[in-house]
């Protein structure tokens, strides 16, 4: 009797416990899904609006397009690609981004190799300076660089093809502290024995670097490549400084779209199509290489 009463009460308690746990689970899923929806909605809204006819965009919210009658069009994309120099800006962005990604990766891996596998006086000291450089705001460097590279100096900036070279080199300089920091952290962790036995076999530093250090560092180099790619592709400030907002032929997508956004008062649907074009490549890169992207973030967490 007493025993069964005891079991009864424990089942009741257990049931109650299970019920609160179920409520908690529900609350948890609700919170997570709610946050995910909030995070997605703005982007979905932009995309849907970019495939709606202009009249609809101006007169009703994008969510109304989800219900029939459906009326979607790609006319906005055709128009913005044909008319507003967006196609040209896309090519410019590619031409700016490729070298500005390749150069810093190469230069950083040379330096990282030296920091990891060579001994020299001042090594630790230089590395501390590098950590300090991680957080230097780009703004601090603009006035002197504009003087050196601008019309008063070697006249590289603005409308000519030289502006691209200036932007490549500048992005290399700005990206290097993070790049060296990230790659050195990884290369130092590579097994020492491999390099020692290579040295015993008579391999020089060049072959140790190209045959061992580089292939073994592919994961971190991939992470860095994605990072630098996204950073340069999405950059507005450096391009504004070294190319300027007005040199139509040289503009990357970010400036071209920022210009559209101030000039296109009423033609919003074009702006949205343009914005989505600028996101297409980063989103593809992001989804294809997400794993490396996360590794890059967690590996170099002190970047400014």
């Amino acid at each position: 009797m007493t025993a069964s009463a005891a079991t009864d009460s424990t089942t009741i308690v257990a049931n109650r416990g299970r019920r609160t746990i179920r409520w908690r689970r529900l609350l948890l899923h609700g919170a997570v899904i709610g946050l995910v929806v909030i995070w997605l909605l703005p982007t979905i809204g932009l995309f849907i609006n970019s495939v709606r006819p202009p009249i609809d965009v101006a007169n009703s919210g994008w969510w109304t397009a989800l219900f029939p009658p459906w009326d979607f069009t790609i006319a906005n994309y055709e128009q913005v690609l044909a008319r507003n120099g967006i196609a040209n800006a896309f090519v410019n962005s590619v031409l700016i981004t490729l070298p500005a990604t390749i150069i810093p990766i190469a230069v950083a891996s040379f330096a990282a190799y030296a920091f990891s596998w060579m001994h020299f006086r001042g090594r630790d000291w230089i590395f501390v300076v590098l950590v300090a450089l991680l957080v230097i705001p780009l703004q601090t460097t603009f006035v002197p660089l504009l003087t050196l590279l601008g019309p008063k100096g070697i006249h590289l900036l603005g409308a000519g093809p030289g502006a691209f070279v200036a932007v490549w080199l500048a992005h290399t300089g700005y990206g290097l502290p993070f790049a060296i920091f990230l790659v050195t952290g990884y290369m130092r962790g590579l097994p020492k024995e491999v390099f020692e036995s290579a040295a015993i076999d008579g391999a020089g530093h060049a072959s140790a670097f190209f045959r061992l250090a580089l292939p073994m560092s592919v994961p971190v180099l991939a992470a860095l490549a994605i990072f630098q790619f996204l950073f340069v592709w999405n950059d507005l400030l450096v391009a504004l400084m070294f190319i300027g907002a007005q040199n139509a032929g040289n503009l990357p997508l970010t400036i071209a779209i920022a210009n559209l956004s101030t000039s296109l008062g009423g033609d919003w649907q074009l702006l949205m199509a343009a914005a989505f074009i600028s996101m297409a490549l980063p989103l593809v890169v992001f989804f294809a290489l997400q794993r490396y992207f996360v590794r890059g973030i967690t590996g170099g967490a002190v970047k400014g």
């Binding site: 948890l28 899923h29 997570v32 995910v36 995070w39 909605l41 703005p42 982007t43 932009l46 609006n49 007169n59 009703s60 919210g61 994008w62 031409l95 490729l98 390749i102 190469a106 230069v107 040379f110 190799y113 030296a114 060579m118 001994h119 020299f120 230089i126 501390v128 950590v131 300090a132 450089l133 957080v135 230097i136 705001p137 703004q139 460097t141 603009f142 006035v143 002197p144 300089g173 290097l176 060296i180 530093h205 190209f210 996204l230 999405n234 507005l236 400030l237 504004l240 779209i257 920022a258 949205m272 914005a275 996101m279 980063p282 989103l283 996360v294 973030i297 967690t298 967490a301 002190v302």
Partner: protein, 323 residues
Amino acid sequence: MDTRLVAAILIVVGLPAFLIGYILLIETLLRPVPERWQGRIRPWLWLAPALAFLGFFLVYPTFNTIVLSFQDRFSKAFVGLNNYAYFLSNADTLVSLRNNVIWLVLLTALAVGLGLLIAVLVDRVRYEPAAKSVIFLPLAISFVGAGIIWRFVYDYAPPGQPQTGLLNAAVTAVGFQPQTWLQDAPTNTIALILVAVWIWTGFCMVILSAALKGISVELMEAARVDGATELQVFRGITLPLLLPAIAVVATTMVITALKAFDIVYVMTSGNFDTNVIANQMYKELFTNNQPGRASAIAVVLLVLIVPVMIINIRRFREQEAIR
């Protein structure tokens, strides 16, 4: 178009060849050098390209900017502290300085707080990877793109007309008047900061989530067996162990807030009292043609960042000591 294609091919093929050539060249040049000297010279040759870039694009300009900030608009005569006096007496710059403080507090608190919350929440669901991808997706989008996305969230139509902005549609649906979110100070600065929070929460979440995975499950289980509630586990175990990671993301957010530029430039151009110092510097440099004043603003920015720099160096030294 054709010349561009040629240029692109040259870049993609020629550039790596050139860079690889540099290493092969210095190693060839070093071969006849006596061994003892090789060891001394080689590291510097390997470092030379990096040091040249860093020196030219970061170190020299930073020092030069400090000098320029004490000079007039032609960068000739020294004018003492005039540029700083202007900075501290001009209403526009003071507003932007105030806004940066708001940015710093709100962006850091919200992005780190939400990032922590989401990291802890998604740790308990099976669809964690998918949920995380969505949260850090905005990080792949440019600030320019994000600014445009959010202009349509904050869009305004007069009362009575159909609202096309998501936020005003929601506000009017529950019976309130639509708001001009981007024009009404001081809430418009908060509206801009929320865009930055949307972008940066994913960054905080990823780092905090990685740190969370590093905490031993046994430790938490032991506490739960001893009767600790979830909240007690979080406060007593999770939070203290996450503190180093929180410090990392918080310092990153502080720097991000101080350097904020793109979102303001695209969404309001700094109008309606939303200006920030980076944008003010851009205006002094290009609109007002005042490199001295622009440099002074940059130096203020630098001074504000120095504490973070010191914290970073100290943390780096500690990690090196452990290694």
